[in-house]
């Protein structure tokens, strides 16, 4: 392991290169934010476009969570909107009922908002556990029906709670979220999920998808990982829900019906289940495309449907086709060439 002078230099050079590579996605995101803000200030971008972008990013987060459950772990959950609802309502309850957000001095507002996101994540995670745990007794189609049922139960319960507006909807939520907040949480979501998926934990989840029994005979406790995937997927959706609540300022139980859950499923499978890239591309594209087609009025949904059908016919593995953006795949430390290979 003794390095000569040039060796050290090369080491530093490689280190710098690796650091640059590591940071490049972050720099890209920052540039993107600045560009969008500039265009907004210069009035090239209407507020409407930025609104669509923010919805797109939130949908990406929810879909990434769903990807962990459906795409990576191979469970078929169609109750994702339920987790978003839990996150949205619980965070809104924190900022609206627990604290009077607008009466707070502006310095503590971000803290209270972060607290509400934390609460949203925990609440959604608890629901993820409650749903994931018993659901594991059933598989495939049956699991889908169970998760669908749970999603609807969440919505029904919200209707029964008058403090959060019940069937009238929850209004008066501070509209605190802006693009910066959303980008930060979007980046964090990608980072955490990428780290999870490309670790032994993620591999264990993948093995559950590929072959439960073989995974068990490799010493993997498949129940643990299925539940873990449900919890992490739910937390992601919950955090996204918290952002949504504070973006919209108003929540209604019907926003989180099973139709919404199906939307997330479509985003995921159109984008490419099993990869983060697929979830992001799918959710973003399918949030933006219908908006772009608005000029077609009634024909909009026909075209949207047609696009989906054609895509499933000609690209059944989704837009990403099972490939991950290379910057999302963590690199291992470079091999030390001096080391003697063991035979």
């Amino acid at each position: 392991m003794s390095g000569s002078g040039t060796g050290v230099n090369i080491d530093i050079f490689h280190k710098l290169k690796r650091e640059a590579r590591r940071c490049s996605p972050l720099i890209g995101l920052a540039v993107f934010y600045l560009a969008v803000t500039y265009l907004r200030e210069a009035r090239y971008l209407k507020a409407y476009y930025i609104q669509v972008l923010m919805f797109g990013l939130i949908n990406c987060m929810v879909t990434m969570g769903l990807n962990l459950i459906n795409g990576v772990t191979g469970q078929f959950s169609i109750g994702q909107a339920g987790f978003v609802a839990v996150g949205a309502y619980s965070s809104a309850a924190v900022t609206t009922l627990l604290f009077r957000f607008n009466a707070l001095p502006s310095i503590v507002r971000p803290l209270v908002f972060l607290l509400s996101i934390l609460v949203a994540g925990i609440a959604a995670g608890v629901f993820g556990y409650l749903i994931g745990r018993p659901s594991l007794r059933v598989k495939g189609d049956y699991l889908a029906i169970v998760t669908l049922g749970f999603g609807e139960i969440i919505r029904a319960i919200i209707r029964l709670i008058p403090q959060v507006g019940g069937p009238r909807g929850f209004s008066g939520i501070p509209r605190y979220v802006n693009l910066a907040w959303i980008l930060i949480f979007f980046a964090l979501t990608i980072w955490f999920l990428r780290n999870y998926i490309y670790s032994a934990y993620g591999r264990a989840c993948i093995s559950c998808r590929e072959d439960d029994l073989a995974a068990e005979t490799m010493g993997i406790n498949t129940t643990t990982y299925k539940v873990q995937a449900f919890i992490i997927g739910a937390v992601t959706a919950g955090v996204a829900g918290a952002l949504l609540a504070h973006l919209l300022g108003y929540l209604h139980p019907d926003q989180f019906s099973y139709i919404r859950s199906t939307d997330f499923l479509v985003y995921l499978y159109a984008g490419g289940a099993g990869t983060i890239s697929g979830a992001v591309v799918g959710a973003m594209a399918l949030t933006i495309v219908p908006e772009m087609l608005r000029f077609l009025s009634g024909w909009r949904l026909v075209i949207y449907g047609l696009v989906l059908v054609l895509m499933m016919l000609y690209r059944p593995h989704g837009i990403s086709n099972g490939k991950e953006f290379s910057f999302l795949v963590p690199r291992l430390a470079p091999k030390k060439t001096e080391e003697v290979q063991e035979g």
């Binding site: 993948i206 068990e216 010493g219 406790n221 091999k335």
Partner: protein, 259 residues
């Protein structure tokens, strides 16, 4: 001097509804041995394996692994104790590369926690690098290195079998169960397999128990052979004893038959 046998089975039995698939099965396997279980189709061989790996809970009896009764443990704990297996109809993670298959099998050797993983701490990075080297070296030892990045389902049949063996070995087992390792192989491949199995026993210091139809393979490599039929043990002994055992010949060939 009596060392604890690595595997000891007492009065093992399982009933599926009206069918007594395995009945009062006794078996002892010493550390380092190469045992074989043979028997006609439907004799209950694979059922025994399924009980030895926790897939079916037995109705009666005990399984002692290194002196510890492990009946009732979940499947993954059987692997943790040190029992690994291959399947009669290969069960690789088909859509994943050979390397990924092995990496998943090394799961138990991963020592970082969930939070380290989520934050991808340096310890994760380090362990993952080591893991990659361990897996590549294992693939290399089983001459599979050239297939490391091939999708498992795209590999030739014989290679898939070898990869499944490698995957079982990757769990660092003390006891390796092989369920019809020669199924679907031609005579040359069977010859090669015999050598491989013996080599694995010595190289990885594992005790091996195999189920096989292929008489020649079993007779050539096993230290002792157990014959089952209709879920019952009918004979036990060294290969040359089994070859002339009347009950065995009857089970396989009917009365008056001859090997």
């Amino acid at each position: 001097m009596t060392a604890t046998p690595i595997l000891e089975i007492h009065n093992l039995g399982v009933r599926f509804g009206g069918l007594q698939a395995v009945d009062a099965f006794h078996y002892v396997l010493q550390e380092g041995d190469l045992g074989g279980i043979i028997g006609p189709n439907g004799a209950g061989k694979t059922t025994i394996f399924n009980m030895l790996t926790g897939i079916y809970p037995p109705t009666t009896g005990e399984i002692f692994f290194r002196g510890k009764n492990i009946v009732g443990a979940p499947i993954h704990d059987f692997t943790r104790y040190g029992i690994a297996r291959t399947f009669q109809n290969i069960r690789l993670f088909k859509e994943l590369s050979a390397l990924e298959n092995i990496r998943i099998a090394r799961h138990m050797s991963v020592n970082y926690g969930l939070f380290s993983a989520l934050f991808r701490r340096p310890s994760v990075q380090r362990r993952e690098s080591e893991l990659e080297e361990e897996c590549m070296s294992l693939l290399d030892r089983l001459s599979l290195a050239q297939y490391a990045h091939h999708k498992a389902s795209s590999l030739p049949y014989g290679v898939q079998r070898r990869l499944e063996l490698a995957r079982a070995l990757a769990t660092s087992p003390g006891l390796l169960l092989l369920d019809e390792p020669a199924a679907g192989m031609n005579p040359q491949e069977v010859d090669q397999l015999s050598k491989t199995i013996l080599w694995i026993r010595d190289e990885f210091r594992v005790t091996i128990l195999l189920i096989e139809h292929h008489m020649q393979l079993v007779m050539n490599i096993c230290d002792h052979i157990t014959v089952v039929n209709f879920g019952k043990l009918i004979a036990e002994g060294k290969p040359e004893e089994i070859r002339v055992n009347a009950a065995v010949i009857e089970a396989y060939l009917g009365k008056g038959g001859k090997f």
